[in-house]
Structures are given as C-alpha cells and as structure tokens.
C-alpha cells in the first residue's frame, strides 16, 4: 500500500489586500512547481480549498497554468478547508487512487469588505449579536474566572506570536509588539483587543502530497504523515464546558492514537490561534500542560521556539494572518519547512515531530464546525 508523504510546500506572502483570488492560487501552485522542480504533467490530481472564492476555484486557478483535464476537487470546511483538502489527498494517495497530488488553499477575505466575518443570520446566537470574536471572548472570560487570571495572562500569546512572525518572511505582520501595545489596542469584545484577534488576510498555500516512492523518484525531501484527522463539532443545546474545546480534544486524541505518540513527543505545534484565548486552551487540549495551567505554560516560555514545544513558530494566525481556507495548508507548509530544516531564523532546533491543528466556523450549540489535525514526522 502506498505511503503518503508531504514532499514540497510553497506559501505566498499573506497580505491585507490583493487583487484577484485566482492569481493568489496560481502564484502558490507555480511556486510549488518551481520549488520542487516537478513538471506540471506529473501531477495527476489537484484538490483546491477555500471558502469565499466562488465556484470551480481549483479549475480557475489551474487554467492560468495550463494544468487542465485532470481530476480537480473543491473543498469547503470554513477555516478547516485546507486541512480537509490535505486529508482527502492523503487518503487518495494511500488508497492508490492518486500518486502525486497538489493541494492548494486560497482565500481573498479583502473581497468581503473587512470587519468581523458575517455569520448565518438564521443562527440563533448570531441573531443575538454574536460574532466570532464574541464567541471566543465568552470562552476567555469563563477561563479567566475559573482560574483567577487577568486579561494580560492571555495577551502574551500575541506578544510571542508577533515575535515569531517577525522571523517569517511570508507573515502578514513582520514586527514584534509589546504587552502594553496588545492590551491597549482597539477593544473588540472584552477581554479581547484587536491585536489578540487574527487579521482577515488574503493568501494562498500549496503542498505536494505524493507516495513515498514518487517522492524518491523525484528526488524530493519527504516528510512522513503519521496522522490525519478531520472531525466535526457535536451539537448540544444544554450547558456545556467551553474551556476544554470538545472538537479539538477528540481530534487530538484520535491523531495521537493514529501516530502512536503523546504530547511529550511534539517538537512543535501549529495551532489555531484565531484569538489569544484559543491558543491557551489548546495547550491544555493538546496535553502540553494540565487543565487550567495554560497561561502559566505560556508565561514560563514553554511554548517559545526554544521551549518544551514550540507553539506557532510561524507566528500563527495572529501574526502570519488568517486567509481562512488557506490556513490549514500554510500550517502544513510550516511543518514541512521545520522538519526539513528550511525554517531559517525561526527554526525549531532538532525538530522531528510536528502537529498541525485548525478549527473551522462558529455554529450555535457546537464548539466549532470542523477540526483538522495532522501529525508529521521525519
């Protein structure tokens, strides 16, 4: 049975505004082809991911590169779109249905006009005025109350991730910020301020998923895929715990079981820091620390690039930016660069095991709509 690997990655710079979603995707695919040196004709399948790019985004991208006539799939799972596309590519290679797959994930959020992303008006919580920052702010206030913490205990996530992003050439924000700047930035939904919210961004990322044999034939550095999990949030209209994220916990546990690892085995994790509180909750859901100790884990530097487990060495969503459908593939691209020693100034020393984690969407009664977790290793 073929063994799927990641054998190349290319992420274009994430920006505030760009001109055309198709151009973004074409740039990412072209960059992947050039960085791997593979011929267009070698690619037998393409899976495109995105939320707001419109119908047939994959085919529209590929027509710009004269990569036409092959099987193309277009995937949407909110912010988990890219990870979902990668999951499907991995399955196609493992089953022998495809041999060399390009996964390209693209988003042009500037086309939506800025501000909080609009939720479904028939969603009962959106009807009351909920926006994504508010959903996370509710978790943040509960977490602060449960653990006797202050807002600054969460804001340190932004300081760390902006520091990391300053080392990442494709990150939207290239400058570090201080804790005071984070706390004094524009209030969005208490206790979250603007610099604690990932910025709407435009961007695209592409990875090459192929069989181990194909990677060897092509002379490419291969990174093993030890786990690939996609799951959805479970609905409940009853009181439930919002500070242990259910969909993430289930996906992480499945991924650890697939990979045969535990949290202590991770050298780095790219997690879904859509808002500062999210990353703190994910330290706990990943088992990097005990319940309620996430803020301490951060404060002690254990999530730093040279810490116990480098969390978001890329700068995460807060610094790299969040073109929603593209993020999951950008995370895989970062993990590929880290595990092949290509991460430059933000290289995690001796990185050999990486986890990527992304969640998608806000729906009333559901933790998140979708969650994708991958474990990669060399």
């Amino acid at each position: 049975m073929p063994v799927p690997v990641i054998a190349g990655a290319h992420t274009i710079p994430f920006v505030k505004e760009s001109t055309h979603v198709v151009d973004l995707g074409a740039d990412a695919v072209r960059g992947l082809l050039r960085s791997t040196g593979i011929d267009r004709e070698a690619v037998d399948t393409v899976i495109s991911a995105g939320v707001a790019g419109g119908a047939l985004l994959g085919q529209r991208i590929l027509s710009r590169l004269s990569m036409t006539g092959l099987p193309v799939f277009n995937i949407e799972n909110a912010c988990a779109s890219g990870a979902s596309a990668a999951h499907l590519a991995i399955g196609m290679v493992a089953s022998g249905q495809a041999r060399i797959v390009v996964v390209v994930a693209t988003e042009r959020l500037s086309a939506l006009g800025g501000g909080a992303l609009k939720l479904d008006p028939t969603d009962i919580e959106a009807a009351q005025g909920a926006i994504m920052p508010a959903h996370y702010a509710l978790r943040a206030n509960r977490y602060l109350w449960e653990n006797g913490l202050k807002p600054e205990d969460l804001a340190g996530v932004s300081v760390k991730n902006r520091r990391n992003g300053a080392l990442n050439p494709i990150a939207r924000f290239q400058a570090a910020v201080t804790l005071e700047e984070v706390l004094n930035s524009k209030p969005i939904a208490d206790p979250l301020t603007l610099l604690q919210c990932s910025p709407n961004s435009d961007g695209s990322s592409a990875v090459l998923i192929c069989s181990e044999e194909a990677a060897s034939e092509l002379g490419l550095d291969a990174v093993g895929i030890k786990a690939s999990v996609i799951t959805s949030g479970k609905y409940s209209d009853a009181p439930r715990d919002l500070t242990m994220p259910d969909v993430t916990l289930r996906a992480i546990q499945q991924a650890y079981a697939q990979a045969g690892i535990g949290p202590k085995d991770l050298d780095l994790a790219e997690v879904h820091d859509a808002f500062s509180i999210a990353e703190v909750l994910y330290y706990e859901a990943l088992g990097l620390c005990e319940r309620g100790q996430g803020a301490r884990y951060l404060a002690e530097g254990r999530a730093d690039i040279d810490g116990d487990c480098a969390v978001n060495p890329s700068g995460g969503l807060i610094s790299r930016g969040h073109p929603v459908g593209a993020t999951g593939v950008a995370q895989l691209g970062e993990a590929y660069e880290q595990l092949t020693g290509r991460a430059g100034a933000r290289q995690v020393p001796g990185a050999s095991v990486a986890l990527t984690h992304v969640t998608g969407g806000g729906i009333a009664g559901v933790d998140n709509g979708a969650c994708g977790v991958h474990v990669l290793a060399v």
Binding site: I124, G129, A189
Partner: protein
C-alpha cells in the same frame, strides 16, 4: 431599564417548543427535533431563570446595531443554554455564576426570538415587591 420594564421582561419567559414525539425541549422552535427528527411541536414558554455561564461586551465588529452591547451565555434551570443580550452601558456588571432572569424582547428579521437579561439577581419572591415569583 426601569423597574417596571424589568418586571415585564422577567414575566415573558423564553420561547421554546417541545417535541410531540419524544418530549425534547428546544429553543428556538426547530424545523426538526434534534433528538428524534420529529417535525411536530407544541410551543412552550419556559421560565427564564438561570445562571450566567460567561459574558462579554462587544465593542467593535458589527455595523448593524449600536455599540457596545453585552452578550451572555445563560444556563437556564430547565436545562437549556441560551445566549442573551444585556445593557453594556448602564447595566450592572455581570459575572459567571450570577443568577439572572432572561426574557424575550422581540424578534429578528428572520423571525428568531431576541433575548435579554432582565436584571442581575434571581426573580424577586412574591410579596417582596409585589412582583410575581
């Protein structure tokens, strides 16, 4: 909010619907029962007494309603969690664990109930201020 309008809001209850097949209570009235997929319901207004699970004040991000506004998750005594608004400008500070009463203040354009916290604190006992229990 005046004392009178608080009392009026407390008396509205929270609109729900009970499945005729399995008895599951939902808010708002669904198209299909989440438990048994049934599609026959009896409207049921439930008491809005509950406890705040968490709160926030939205200060930016939407341009279709005046800012700031408060939002809270409230766990109702009947076993449902609802989201309700509250006055973020002149209202009292809410914290998790605060007993509150939630009521309906109107409908959205999509016909969904708009909920608001009447005031922090449990419903007054009958006779304490002339308010119903």
């Amino acid at each position: 909010m005046t004392a009178e309008s608080q009392l009026e809001l407390q008396s509205t209850g929270v609109p729900g619907a009970r499945c005729n097949d399995c008895g599951h209570l939902s808010h708002p009235r669904p198209r299909h029962c989440a438990q048994c997929l049934g599609d026959a319901f009896t409207d049921e207004t439930v008491p809005g007494d509950g406890v705040v699970y968490s709160v926030t004040v939205v200060r930016s991000g939407r341009n279709d309603r005046p800012l700031p506004y408060g939002l809270a998750h409230v766990d109702l005594a009947v076993g449902l969690r609802v989201m309700a608004g509250f006055d973020a400008v002149s209202g009292d500070v809410l914290e998790p664990g605060t007993p509150v009463v939630v009521g309906q203040v109107g409908l959205t354009e999509a016909g969904l109930p708009l909920l608001q916290i009447a005031a922090p604190g449990p419903r007054p006992l009958a006779g304490a201020s002339g308010a119903p229990a």
